[in-house]
Symmetry: D2
Subunit: 136 residues, 4 copies
């Protein structure tokens, strides 16, 4: 298990006419947050693709607890839960600037070959980085 914190500000094009953030943006927030976690353990996602792998999402679940607004500063706590076989699991907790939990999510991704889209084991440098930084 590896935790990482990533903060960002809600921008105008992410709002919709309800005056809140359109729900499709949370998938983008969490994608950015998980690759920042990857960067923090020395494996920027761009290196994963350069090594011939991709990580498409195979499942994602979201629970919307509280709304948010333009210009709010938000913080995602991302947790890399597990890597097993061809898959990797992350969970996310999103907080507003009052430290209120506003959204939770989980995503499952699969390692695939960049050229053939076939599921495959993660490359060694990814496995090693995750082992090195994992806490019990």
């Amino acid at each position: 298990m590896i935790d990482h914190s990533y903060s960002f500000r809600v921008i105008y094009p992410e709002t919709d006419q309800m005056g809140t953030v359109h729900h499709s943006n949370y998938a983008k927030y969490y994608e950015t947050a998980r690759w920042e976690l990857f960067r923090s353990i020395g494996i920027p996602y761009i290196e994963v693709e350069k090594a011939g792998y991709m990580l498409p999402v195979t499942r994602m679940n979201f629970r919307f607890i509280k709304t948010t607004h333009y210009d709010e500063m938000l913080t995602v706590i991302t947790t890399l839960k597990e890597v097993k076989g061809v898959r990797i699991w992350f969970t996310y907790k999103l907080y507003n600037s009052n430290n209120e939990l506003i959204n939770t999510a989980e995503t499952e991704l699969a390692f695939v070959g960049k050229d053939n889209w076939k599921p495959c084991s993660p490359p060694d440098f990814v496995v090693q980085a995750i082992e090195k930084y994992s806490s019990q």
Copy 2:
């Protein structure tokens, strides 16, 4: 239960550098599909907002089975499963033009007042339309 079919074409800005559709777009596809279901039973979503209600998403789950590409024609089969209390549930099955199932999803939404964001019962015209068109 009410079923509805909605077809559309994948456009270029929905692609990402994997050469497939970015996963955040599925939330947009299904939103458009459920409001087309609403339109088909005589209650365009715009009328719901005009009547003083909004329908934010409270939960959404996606399962990605097969990838898709630019310019493919896709079809969503949307099912309105249930309205109960302040909530409404939809499920979605997304097919490509070979009739292969490529994604499934479910969303839970809540009726809220447009001015106060407080959960509330759906307006009568929505309840009546759903009852009128529901099959057992």
Copy 3:
């Protein structure tokens, strides 16, 4: 010169908290419209990429005349103005359902090789399709 008409409906994720369409979406509308023009003359853009070419935008200009809203039906009149050297020019007029002109735009694109991103002449099948369908 080749004209083409393309109609579509404004969807919810395209709105912003002004209650109108976020201005970044017009680039997407016009991209979709110009590839529908291409499809109408027998050269779907996907075939251009399959033949080893891409068409990135090199300039685009927009004038916003009147606002629009969720669920409105809009129509773009797209005009392919000219192909010359490595470049191709399109203009766009966007109308609402009252036939009011709400936006105009022009884009310049360049043919480039898919592998090397080097500017190049358009492939013959594109030149021939444009010549065949052009009016004076």
Copy 4:
């Protein structure tokens, strides 16, 4: 004239299947950059809306000089050129991490009343902040 520098990283959902940034995203980059300029002179855009005004875009022009990619750090130099009557003009220069100019743009926006969308003079606190920070 007021200058401001804003840096950010290209994220995955902004890419398209050309392997570069989809051109519609530049409008979002520059919007975020101009409101960061506004924030830097003490008038966060959210305060402009709270005071009853909005700033829709009335014209925008883009020139694409060089492409960019996922995970690149980019820097926009935004210049507030002029406020006159109901309008305000900004220009933008976008640089990659090699300090190469990759895109230039200009936008014209109009002050309008939040409730009636009628063009109007900017509020005093905006005019005063701009005067205070303008260089000759």
